[in-house]
Symmetry: none
Protein backbone atom coordinates (compact mmCIF):
# COMPACT_ATOMS: atom_id res chain seq x y z
CA UNK A 1 0.00 0.00 0.00
CA UNK A 2 2.08 2.79 -1.24
CA UNK A 3 0.56 6.20 -1.22
CA UNK A 4 2.14 8.99 -3.16
CA UNK A 5 0.73 12.44 -2.64
CA UNK A 6 -0.99 13.83 -5.66
CA UNK A 7 0.98 17.03 -5.77
CA UNK A 8 3.99 15.99 -3.76
CA UNK A 9 6.97 18.20 -3.31
CA UNK A 10 8.78 18.28 -6.60
CA UNK A 11 12.44 19.29 -6.62
CA UNK A 12 11.70 22.47 -8.51
CA UNK A 13 8.09 23.21 -9.29
CA UNK A 14 7.92 24.53 -12.81
CA UNK A 15 5.25 26.46 -14.52
CA UNK A 16 4.39 25.08 -17.95
CA UNK A 17 6.10 28.04 -19.57
CA UNK A 18 9.33 27.42 -17.72
CA UNK A 19 9.09 23.80 -18.72
CA UNK A 20 8.64 24.80 -22.33
CA UNK A 21 11.58 27.10 -22.11
CA UNK A 22 14.01 24.49 -20.87
CA UNK A 23 12.70 21.53 -22.84
CA UNK A 24 12.62 23.56 -26.01
CA UNK A 25 16.26 24.48 -25.67
CA UNK A 26 17.16 20.96 -24.60
CA UNK A 27 15.45 19.31 -27.56
CA UNK A 28 16.80 21.85 -29.98
CA UNK A 29 20.39 21.29 -28.87
CA UNK A 30 19.84 17.57 -28.86
CA UNK A 31 18.81 17.83 -32.49
CA UNK A 32 21.88 19.93 -33.19
CA UNK A 33 19.89 22.80 -34.65
CA UNK A 34 20.51 26.49 -34.30
CA UNK A 35 17.74 28.76 -33.21
CA UNK A 36 17.50 30.26 -36.67
CA UNK A 37 17.50 26.90 -38.38
CA UNK A 38 14.77 25.52 -36.16
CA UNK A 39 12.65 28.59 -36.66
CA UNK A 40 12.96 28.19 -40.40
CA UNK A 41 12.03 24.51 -40.31
CA UNK A 42 9.05 25.15 -38.07
CA UNK A 43 8.00 28.10 -40.21
CA UNK A 44 7.85 30.46 -37.29
CA UNK A 45 9.68 33.70 -36.70
CA UNK A 46 12.96 33.20 -34.97
CA UNK A 47 12.09 36.13 -32.74
CA UNK A 48 9.18 34.10 -31.43
CA UNK A 49 11.41 31.14 -30.76
CA UNK A 50 13.96 33.34 -29.09
CA UNK A 51 11.40 34.70 -26.68
CA UNK A 52 10.07 31.25 -25.97
CA UNK A 53 13.46 29.92 -25.02
CA UNK A 54 14.06 33.05 -22.97
CA UNK A 55 11.08 32.11 -20.85
CA UNK A 56 8.89 35.01 -21.83
CA UNK A 57 5.97 34.13 -23.99
CA UNK A 58 2.91 31.98 -23.93
CA UNK A 59 2.87 30.10 -27.20
CA UNK A 60 -0.27 29.01 -28.94
CA UNK A 61 -0.87 25.36 -29.63
CA UNK A 62 -0.17 25.76 -33.31
CA UNK A 63 3.21 27.28 -32.61
CA UNK A 64 4.21 24.55 -30.21
CA UNK A 65 2.90 21.90 -32.55
CA UNK A 66 5.02 23.22 -35.39
CA UNK A 67 8.05 23.12 -33.14
CA UNK A 68 7.27 19.59 -32.06
CA UNK A 69 7.05 18.46 -35.66
CA UNK A 70 10.25 20.24 -36.62
CA UNK A 71 12.06 18.71 -33.65
CA UNK A 72 10.55 15.32 -34.32
CA UNK A 73 9.42 14.95 -30.75
CA UNK A 74 5.93 14.28 -29.48
CA UNK A 75 4.03 17.32 -28.40
CA UNK A 76 3.86 16.53 -24.73
CA UNK A 77 7.61 16.23 -24.39
CA UNK A 78 7.73 19.99 -24.67
CA UNK A 79 5.21 20.71 -21.97
CA UNK A 80 5.57 17.87 -19.52
CA UNK A 81 8.43 18.32 -17.09
CA UNK A 82 11.26 15.83 -17.67
CA UNK A 83 10.48 14.12 -14.39
CA UNK A 84 6.97 12.76 -14.67
CA UNK A 85 4.39 14.03 -12.26
CA UNK A 86 4.04 12.15 -9.04
CA UNK A 87 0.70 10.43 -9.11
CA UNK A 88 -1.39 8.69 -6.55
CA UNK A 89 -1.24 4.97 -6.19
CA UNK A 90 -4.40 4.18 -4.32
CA UNK A 91 -4.49 1.89 -1.37
CA UNK A 92 -4.39 -1.71 -2.42
CA UNK A 93 -2.68 -1.09 -5.70
CA UNK A 94 0.82 -0.98 -4.35
CA UNK A 95 3.54 -3.60 -4.78
CA UNK A 96 1.61 -6.05 -2.65
CA UNK A 97 0.50 -9.18 -4.47
CA UNK A 98 -3.11 -9.58 -3.52
CA UNK A 99 -4.86 -12.64 -4.78
CA UNK A 100 -8.23 -13.80 -3.61
CA UNK A 101 -8.14 -16.86 -5.78
CA UNK A 102 -5.47 -19.45 -5.05
CA UNK A 103 -5.21 -20.25 -8.74
CA UNK A 104 -3.78 -16.83 -9.44
CA UNK A 105 -0.23 -15.93 -8.55
CA UNK A 106 1.28 -12.59 -9.35
CA UNK A 107 4.93 -11.81 -8.88
CA UNK A 108 6.11 -8.23 -8.86
CA UNK A 109 9.34 -8.05 -10.78
CA UNK A 110 9.92 -4.34 -10.91
CA UNK A 111 7.83 -1.95 -8.90
CA UNK A 112 6.96 1.47 -10.09
CA UNK A 113 9.69 3.95 -9.21
CA UNK A 114 8.76 7.62 -9.11
CA UNK A 115 10.54 8.27 -12.39
CA UNK A 116 8.99 5.43 -14.39
CA UNK A 117 5.30 4.75 -14.04
CA UNK A 118 5.05 1.10 -14.74
CA UNK A 119 5.08 -2.18 -12.92
CA UNK A 120 6.25 -5.43 -14.38
CA UNK A 121 4.65 -8.65 -13.20
CA UNK A 122 4.66 -12.28 -14.07
CA UNK A 123 1.24 -13.79 -13.55
CA UNK A 124 0.50 -17.50 -13.43
CA UNK A 125 -3.00 -18.89 -13.69
CA UNK A 126 -4.69 -22.25 -13.65
CA UNK A 127 -7.94 -23.02 -15.43
CA UNK A 128 -11.04 -22.34 -13.38
CA UNK A 129 -13.21 -19.41 -12.62
CA UNK A 130 -11.96 -16.23 -14.24
CA UNK A 131 -10.16 -13.73 -12.07
CA UNK A 132 -11.92 -10.38 -12.20
CA UNK A 133 -9.75 -7.38 -11.49
CA UNK A 134 -11.25 -4.14 -10.28
CA UNK A 135 -10.45 -1.00 -12.25
CA UNK A 136 -7.12 0.62 -11.50
CA UNK A 137 -6.49 4.33 -11.49
CA UNK A 138 -7.66 6.16 -14.61
CA UNK A 139 -5.20 6.07 -17.46
CA UNK A 140 -3.78 2.68 -16.57
CA UNK A 141 -2.96 0.47 -19.53
CA UNK A 142 -2.06 -3.19 -19.23
CA UNK A 143 0.20 -4.99 -21.64
CA UNK A 144 0.02 -8.76 -21.64
CA UNK A 145 2.31 -11.17 -23.44
CA UNK A 146 1.57 -14.87 -23.13
CA UNK A 147 4.64 -16.94 -22.36
CA UNK A 148 2.99 -20.34 -21.98
CA UNK A 149 -0.45 -21.86 -22.28
CA UNK A 150 -3.53 -19.96 -23.38
CA UNK A 151 -5.31 -17.05 -21.77
CA UNK A 152 -8.59 -15.26 -22.10
CA UNK A 153 -8.13 -11.70 -20.96
CA UNK A 154 -9.23 -8.15 -21.57
CA UNK A 155 -12.08 -5.83 -20.58
CA UNK A 156 -14.81 -7.66 -18.72
CA UNK A 157 -17.30 -7.43 -21.53
CA UNK A 158 -14.92 -8.07 -24.38
CA UNK A 159 -12.16 -10.53 -23.54
CA UNK A 160 -9.75 -11.88 -26.14
CA UNK A 161 -8.34 -15.38 -26.49
CA UNK A 162 -4.57 -15.44 -26.57
CA UNK A 163 -2.06 -18.14 -27.39
CA UNK A 164 1.65 -18.37 -26.78
CA UNK A 165 3.46 -15.29 -28.06
CA UNK A 166 0.32 -13.22 -28.46
CA UNK A 167 0.31 -9.67 -27.17
CA UNK A 168 -2.67 -7.73 -25.86
CA UNK A 169 -3.01 -4.17 -24.65
CA UNK A 170 -6.19 -3.04 -22.94
CA UNK A 171 -7.37 -0.36 -20.52
CA UNK A 172 -6.75 -1.20 -16.89
CA UNK A 173 -9.08 1.47 -15.56
CA UNK A 174 -12.16 -0.61 -16.20
CA UNK A 175 -13.09 -4.02 -14.87
CA UNK A 176 -11.09 -6.68 -16.65
CA UNK A 177 -10.58 -10.41 -16.45
CA UNK A 178 -7.85 -13.02 -16.64
CA UNK A 179 -8.69 -16.63 -17.28
CA UNK A 180 -6.43 -19.56 -18.02
CA UNK A 181 -7.54 -21.88 -20.79
CA UNK A 182 -4.64 -24.28 -20.39
CA UNK A 183 -2.88 -25.54 -17.26
CA UNK A 184 0.43 -23.91 -16.49
CA UNK A 185 -0.43 -20.71 -18.29
CA UNK A 186 1.62 -17.63 -17.47
CA UNK A 187 2.30 -14.26 -18.95
CA UNK A 188 4.31 -11.11 -18.56
CA UNK A 189 2.20 -8.17 -17.51
CA UNK A 190 3.36 -4.58 -17.84
CA UNK A 191 1.05 -2.28 -15.98
CA UNK A 192 1.49 1.26 -17.12
CA UNK A 193 0.25 4.24 -15.16
CA UNK A 194 -0.21 7.13 -17.52
Amino acid sequence: MIQYAEHEVVPSMQTPLETISVSLRRERERAGLSLSELAKRASIAKSTLSQLEAGSGNPSVETLWALGVALDVPFSRLVEPPEPRVRVIRSGEGPGVASEQASFVGTLLSSCPPSARRDIYVISLEPGSPRVAEPHIPGTVEHLTVAAGRLRAGPEGDPVDLAVGDYLAFPGDVSHVYEALDPGSWAVLVMEHT
Copy 2:
Protein backbone atom coordinates in the same frame (compact mmCIF):
# COMPACT_ATOMS: atom_id res chain seq x y z
CA MET B 1 17.86 -0.07 -36.30
CA ILE B 2 14.24 0.29 -35.44
CA GLN B 3 12.28 2.72 -37.49
CA TYR B 4 8.66 3.51 -37.10
CA ALA B 5 6.36 6.37 -37.89
CA GLU B 6 6.44 9.07 -35.32
CA HIS B 7 2.73 9.54 -35.14
CA GLU B 8 0.79 6.36 -35.42
CA VAL B 9 -1.56 6.22 -38.34
CA VAL B 10 -5.01 6.92 -37.02
CA PRO B 11 -8.23 6.35 -38.92
CA SER B 12 -9.01 10.04 -39.30
CA MET B 13 -6.07 12.37 -39.21
CA GLN B 14 -6.83 15.26 -36.94
CA THR B 15 -5.22 18.62 -36.62
CA PRO B 16 -4.19 19.42 -33.06
CA LEU B 17 -7.01 21.92 -32.79
CA GLU B 18 -9.62 19.39 -33.79
CA THR B 19 -8.15 17.00 -31.30
CA ILE B 20 -8.36 19.62 -28.60
CA SER B 21 -11.93 20.34 -29.50
CA VAL B 22 -13.13 16.78 -29.17
CA SER B 23 -10.99 15.75 -26.22
CA LEU B 24 -11.89 18.87 -24.33
CA ARG B 25 -15.58 18.16 -24.64
CA ARG B 26 -15.05 14.48 -23.90
CA GLU B 27 -13.08 15.11 -20.72
CA ARG B 28 -15.43 17.80 -19.57
CA GLU B 29 -18.46 15.55 -19.89
CA ARG B 30 -16.56 12.72 -18.29
CA ALA B 31 -15.97 14.98 -15.31
CA GLY B 32 -19.63 15.90 -15.28
CA LEU B 33 -18.95 19.60 -15.50
CA SER B 34 -20.87 22.21 -17.39
CA LEU B 35 -19.08 24.55 -19.71
CA SER B 36 -19.67 27.45 -17.36
CA GLU B 37 -18.53 25.51 -14.33
CA LEU B 38 -15.34 24.35 -15.98
CA ALA B 39 -14.55 27.84 -17.17
CA LYS B 40 -14.96 29.12 -13.64
CA ARG B 41 -12.71 26.43 -12.16
CA ALA B 42 -10.06 26.99 -14.78
CA SER B 43 -10.33 30.76 -14.34
CA ILE B 44 -10.89 31.39 -18.00
CA ALA B 45 -13.75 33.10 -19.77
CA LYS B 46 -16.47 30.70 -20.71
CA SER B 47 -16.58 32.36 -24.09
CA THR B 48 -13.06 31.17 -24.66
CA LEU B 49 -13.96 27.65 -23.68
CA SER B 50 -17.03 27.74 -25.87
CA GLN B 51 -14.97 28.68 -28.90
CA LEU B 52 -12.41 26.03 -28.13
CA GLU B 53 -14.99 23.28 -27.99
CA ALA B 54 -16.54 24.66 -31.15
CA GLY B 55 -13.29 24.02 -32.94
CA SER B 56 -12.41 27.61 -33.62
CA GLY B 57 -9.55 28.98 -31.65
CA ASN B 58 -5.91 28.35 -31.09
CA PRO B 59 -5.43 28.31 -27.35
CA SER B 60 -2.28 29.35 -25.63
CA VAL B 61 -0.42 26.93 -23.45
CA GLU B 62 -1.52 28.69 -20.29
CA THR B 63 -5.15 28.34 -21.26
CA LEU B 64 -4.84 24.66 -22.04
CA TRP B 65 -2.81 24.07 -18.93
CA ALA B 66 -5.46 25.65 -16.75
CA LEU B 67 -8.06 23.42 -18.35
CA GLY B 68 -5.91 20.35 -17.82
CA VAL B 69 -5.53 21.18 -14.14
CA ALA B 70 -9.22 21.89 -13.71
CA LEU B 71 -10.10 18.61 -15.42
CA ASP B 72 -7.40 16.75 -13.51
CA VAL B 73 -6.06 15.14 -16.64
CA PRO B 74 -2.51 15.13 -17.93
CA PHE B 75 -1.79 17.75 -20.51
CA SER B 76 -1.14 15.29 -23.28
CA ARG B 77 -4.65 13.85 -23.02
CA LEU B 78 -5.98 17.07 -24.46
CA VAL B 79 -3.70 17.26 -27.47
CA GLU B 80 -2.88 13.66 -28.33
CA PRO B 81 -5.62 11.75 -30.12
CA PRO B 82 -6.81 8.78 -28.08
CA GLU B 83 -5.17 5.60 -29.22
CA PRO B 84 -7.24 2.52 -29.81
CA ARG B 85 -7.73 1.01 -26.41
CA VAL B 86 -7.57 -2.70 -27.07
CA ARG B 87 -4.93 -4.04 -29.39
CA VAL B 88 -3.92 -7.59 -30.14
CA ILE B 89 -0.76 -8.65 -31.90
CA ARG B 90 -0.77 -12.35 -32.70
CA SER B 91 2.34 -14.42 -32.38
CA GLY B 92 4.47 -13.91 -35.46
CA GLU B 93 2.57 -10.84 -36.52
CA GLY B 94 3.43 -7.26 -35.85
CA PRO B 95 6.29 -5.15 -37.10
CA GLY B 96 9.36 -7.31 -37.21
CA VAL B 97 12.69 -5.74 -36.54
CA ALA B 98 15.24 -6.51 -39.18
CA SER B 99 18.43 -7.70 -37.61
CA GLU B 100 21.92 -8.16 -38.89
CA GLN B 101 21.93 -11.59 -37.40
CA ALA B 102 19.32 -13.87 -38.90
CA SER B 103 19.07 -15.67 -35.60
CA PHE B 104 17.60 -12.62 -33.86
CA VAL B 105 14.06 -11.38 -34.36
CA GLY B 106 12.58 -8.50 -32.41
CA THR B 107 8.93 -7.49 -32.57
CA LEU B 108 7.86 -4.10 -31.36
CA LEU B 109 4.62 -4.59 -29.47
CA SER B 110 4.09 -1.13 -28.01
CA SER B 111 6.13 1.85 -29.05
CA CYS B 112 6.95 4.59 -26.65
CA PRO B 113 4.00 6.96 -26.30
CA PRO B 114 4.81 10.52 -25.30
CA SER B 115 3.78 10.19 -21.69
CA ALA B 116 5.21 6.74 -21.01
CA ARG B 117 8.78 6.23 -21.94
CA ARG B 118 9.04 2.56 -22.61
CA ASP B 119 8.95 0.15 -25.48
CA ILE B 120 7.76 -3.43 -25.25
CA TYR B 121 9.33 -6.06 -27.47
CA VAL B 122 9.31 -9.76 -27.93
CA ILE B 123 12.71 -11.04 -28.97
CA SER B 124 13.41 -14.48 -30.37
CA LEU B 125 16.89 -15.88 -30.65
CA GLU B 126 18.56 -19.05 -31.87
CA PRO B 127 21.84 -20.38 -30.53
CA GLY B 128 24.90 -19.06 -32.30
CA SER B 129 27.05 -16.00 -32.04
CA PRO B 130 25.84 -13.54 -29.41
CA ARG B 131 24.03 -10.45 -30.57
CA VAL B 132 25.81 -7.33 -29.37
CA ALA B 133 23.63 -4.25 -28.97
CA GLU B 134 25.10 -0.78 -29.03
CA PRO B 135 24.36 1.47 -26.04
CA HIS B 136 21.04 3.27 -26.09
CA ILE B 137 20.47 6.75 -24.80
CA PRO B 138 21.67 7.35 -21.23
CA GLY B 139 19.26 6.29 -18.54
CA THR B 140 17.83 3.40 -20.49
CA VAL B 141 17.03 0.30 -18.47
CA GLU B 142 16.12 -3.03 -19.99
CA HIS B 143 13.88 -5.59 -18.31
CA LEU B 144 14.03 -9.10 -19.64
CA THR B 145 11.73 -12.00 -18.79
CA VAL B 146 12.44 -15.35 -20.37
CA ALA B 147 9.37 -17.07 -21.78
CA ALA B 148 10.98 -20.12 -23.33
CA GLY B 149 14.42 -21.62 -23.64
CA ARG B 150 17.51 -20.25 -21.96
CA LEU B 151 19.30 -16.97 -22.51
CA ARG B 152 22.59 -15.41 -21.64
CA ALA B 153 22.16 -11.66 -21.51
CA GLY B 154 23.31 -8.52 -19.76
CA PRO B 155 26.15 -6.03 -19.95
CA GLU B 156 28.82 -7.09 -22.39
CA GLY B 157 31.39 -7.89 -19.75
CA ASP B 158 29.08 -9.52 -17.25
CA PRO B 159 26.24 -11.50 -18.83
CA VAL B 160 23.88 -13.66 -16.79
CA ASP B 161 22.41 -17.04 -17.63
CA LEU B 162 18.64 -17.12 -17.49
CA ALA B 163 16.12 -19.94 -17.59
CA VAL B 164 12.38 -19.93 -18.20
CA GLY B 165 10.62 -17.45 -15.95
CA ASP B 166 13.78 -15.68 -14.90
CA TYR B 167 13.80 -11.90 -14.84
CA LEU B 168 16.78 -9.64 -15.41
CA ALA B 169 17.14 -5.87 -15.32
CA PHE B 170 20.29 -4.22 -16.57
CA PRO B 171 21.46 -0.86 -17.91
CA GLY B 172 20.80 -0.38 -21.59
CA ASP B 173 23.09 2.59 -21.99
CA VAL B 174 26.18 0.44 -22.21
CA SER B 175 27.05 -2.29 -24.68
CA HIS B 176 25.09 -5.43 -23.90
CA VAL B 177 24.55 -8.86 -25.36
CA TYR B 178 21.78 -11.38 -25.99
CA GLU B 179 22.60 -14.98 -26.65
CA ALA B 180 20.36 -18.01 -26.89
CA LEU B 181 21.49 -21.14 -25.12
CA ASP B 182 18.59 -23.27 -26.28
CA PRO B 183 16.77 -23.39 -29.63
CA GLY B 184 13.48 -21.55 -29.75
CA SER B 185 14.34 -19.17 -26.96
CA TRP B 186 12.33 -16.00 -26.63
CA ALA B 187 11.68 -13.33 -24.04
CA VAL B 188 9.70 -10.23 -23.29
CA LEU B 189 11.84 -7.11 -23.27
CA VAL B 190 10.71 -3.85 -21.69
CA MET B 191 13.02 -1.03 -22.67
CA GLU B 192 12.58 1.88 -20.35
CA HIS B 193 13.79 5.36 -21.20
CA THR B 194 14.20 7.33 -18.01
